[in-house]
């Protein structure tokens, strides 16, 4: 940009060069300031998002609304191809599958009789104990279509939204097992986080051993099962089933989540039982435990029917004990 001196009169050259140079440098400065402001604004958004993760949720939900019809159309050829593939596969394996199923049915019938007996016994025992089990409440059904183009998150769009009663956080269940949870809602559509997303954590337990842990998504096709070893004599085996433990109160307990496929790696790997790439119809349930609203209540007094040691003959107190000395039941 530096020009060689020209034979023009110094006054003219000076004024022309300086005006152009000034304009250039002004423009460059303005551009740099604008760019800086743009970046600062974006970073500010990010900070707001960190402080309040709910920020912008409604806008994201509205985009889901706008995208849902587009995706429904774009899904058609994919669905047809999948369906055709399934049909062909089914025909090829129908005989051996039939034999396998018949064998399993016989085993299952035997087991079902025992299970019915146990269930009835369990029910009567629960009645005796007056155990309160929260009921699972179905909110709505929907079609889920997974979105796999982005490497940074594993999400799916659901064909139900605020109008159907869907709210963020609600668990989403597929036919085979747990699918994920709702993150953003729009009026007619919503977005869910799949189990395989890198930020997905589901409290699970191993059905066989009862060990608890977390099924952690890693962005791929499998889940990591992170757990504390609870026993020195047993270990995780291939084929162990992971079900939700109910910890945290969001997912109802006992829902199939994954099956261990690799027990040697650390942490063990598990394959989700509901294929995240082809969820199809799903159910959206309300969070399992109702939200707790704590109210001021009188602490429980001493148990009147228990023998009190210090003065054996003293009358049982009728007034509630001081909070510090209350005996929790």
């Amino acid at each position: 940009m530096v020009r060689t001196p020209s034979p023009h009169p110094p006054r003219l050259r000076h004024s022309r060069r300086s005006s152009f140079a000034r304009r250039d440098s002004n423009l460059a400065l303005l551009g740099a300031v604008l760019t800086g402001a743009v970046l600062a604004f974006a970073l500010l958004l990010l900070v707001v998002q960190r402080v309040n993760p709910e920020f912008g949720g409604s806008l994201r939900g509205a985009t889901a609304d706008g995208l849902a019809p587009l995706i429904a159309i774009a899904r058609l050829p994919v669905d047809v191809a999948q369906h055709a593939g399934t049909l062909v596969g089914d025909h090829l394996r129908v005989v051996e599958r039939n034999r396998d199923l018949e064998r399993r049915l016989q085993e299952a019938t035997k087991r079902a009789a025992i299970t019915d007996q146990l269930a009835a016994e369990n029910h009567s025992l629960e009645q005796l104990l007056r155990l309160r089990r929260p009921e699972r409440r179905l909110v709505t059904g929907a079609i889920a279509s997974a979105v796999s183009a982005s490497g940074s998150e594993r999400t799916a769009l659901l064909s139900a939204g605020l109008r159907n009663g869907v709210r963020p956080r609600m668990p989403v269940l597929a036919a085979d097992g747990l699918a994920g949870r709702v993150t953003d809602v729009g009026q007619f559509a919503s977005r869910m986080l799949l189990l395989t997303d890198g930020s997905s954590r589901v409290p699970v337990k191993v059905l066989r051993t009862g060990w608890t842990g977390l099924a952690v998504g890693n962005g791929g096709t499998l889940l990591d099962f992170s757990f504390d070893i609870a026993s020195g004599t047993d270990r995780i085996r291939i084929g162990d089933r992971l079900v939700t433990s109910g910890d945290g109160g969001l997912f109802p307990p006992g829902i199939p989540v994954a099956v261990i496929t690799d027990s040697d790696s650390v942490p063990p790997r598990a394959r989700p039982v509901a294929n995240p790439a082809g969820l199809g119809p799903v159910m959206i349930e309300a969070p399992w435990l109702p939200p707790v609203e704590f109210v001021a209540a009188v602490p429980a007094g001493d148990e009147s029917d228990l023998p009190r040691r210090p003065p054996p003959g003293a009358p049982a107190p009728t007034a509630p004990a001081a909070p510090g000395s209350a005996v929790a039941p």
């Binding site: 551009g31 604008l34 760019t35 743009v38 970046l39 604004f41 974006a42 970073l43 500010l44 958004l45 990010l46 900070v47 707001v48 998002q49 960190r50 993760p53 920020f55 912008g56 806008l59 994201r60 509205a62 985009t63 889901a64 995208l67 587009l70 995706i71 774009a74 899904r75 994919v78 999948q82 279509s145 997974a146 979105v147 796999s148 183009a149 982005s150 490497g151 940074s152 998150e153 999400t155 769009l157 993150t183 953003d184 977005r191 395989t196 997303d197 890198g198 930020s199 998504g217 890693n218 962005g219 791929g220 096709t221 995240p276 790439a277 082809g278």
Partner: protein, 171 residues
């Protein structure tokens, strides 16, 4: 490019100014295609187009436009607001700086530069997502960055076709 800025109706000029941004928007929506695949295996066409446009038509894609595109992409992909809104303007600025430094337009050099931007961008997006409280897994993101780098010639061809259309359309 010399024909840009000739006598034109304002509508045509407006359309011409909108084409780069609109192509990035379309690519963002394309990224939402419901493919039954478990890994993020679609190249990041939006980011690639952004890099290409920032190099061949920097005046039609200033950083503030990249900010708006990033906000739209954040909303569309369901990311915390500010992740792509930070990434896109930064990538545009870096692409402009690179354009000013690199003299020639050799395909391999351009390709290598774009790949470097992609990997840097994905690493930055990984950090930003973690900062916003949605820490993702790194491996699939790097896989997608690699795949996007492979798709560079395709996206360049598309952008070149659009560019030729832009210049020749008014005839």
């Amino acid at each position: 490019m010399s024909r840009i800025g000739r006598s034109d109706t304002p509508a045509r000029i407006a359309i011409r100014h909108l084409v780069p941004a609109c192509s990035v928007l379309a690519a963002t929506v394309l990224m939402m295609a419901p493919l039954p695949l478990a890994w993020g295996v679609m190249p990041d066409f939006a980011l690639l187009l952004l890099i290409v446009w920032a190099r061949i038509q920097p005046r039609l894609l200033p950083p503030w436009a990249a900010l708006l595109l990033g906000l739209f992409a954040d909303a569309t992909l369901g990311l915390p607001f500010g992740v792509l809104a930070t990434l896109y303007p930064l990538v545009v600025v870096l692409a402009r700086l690179g354009e000013a430094r690199l003299e020639s337009h050799d395909l391999l050099i351009d390709w290598g530069f774009a790949a470097m931007l992609l990997f840097l961008g994905y690493l930055l997006a990984f950090e930003l997502l973690g900062f916003a409280g949605r820490a993702p897994a790194l491996a699939p993101m790097l896989a997608q960055a690699g795949l996007s780098a492979l798709a560079y010639p395709l996206v360049t061809a598309v952008a070149a076709r659009l560019q030729r259309w832009l210049v020749g359309a008014e005839g």
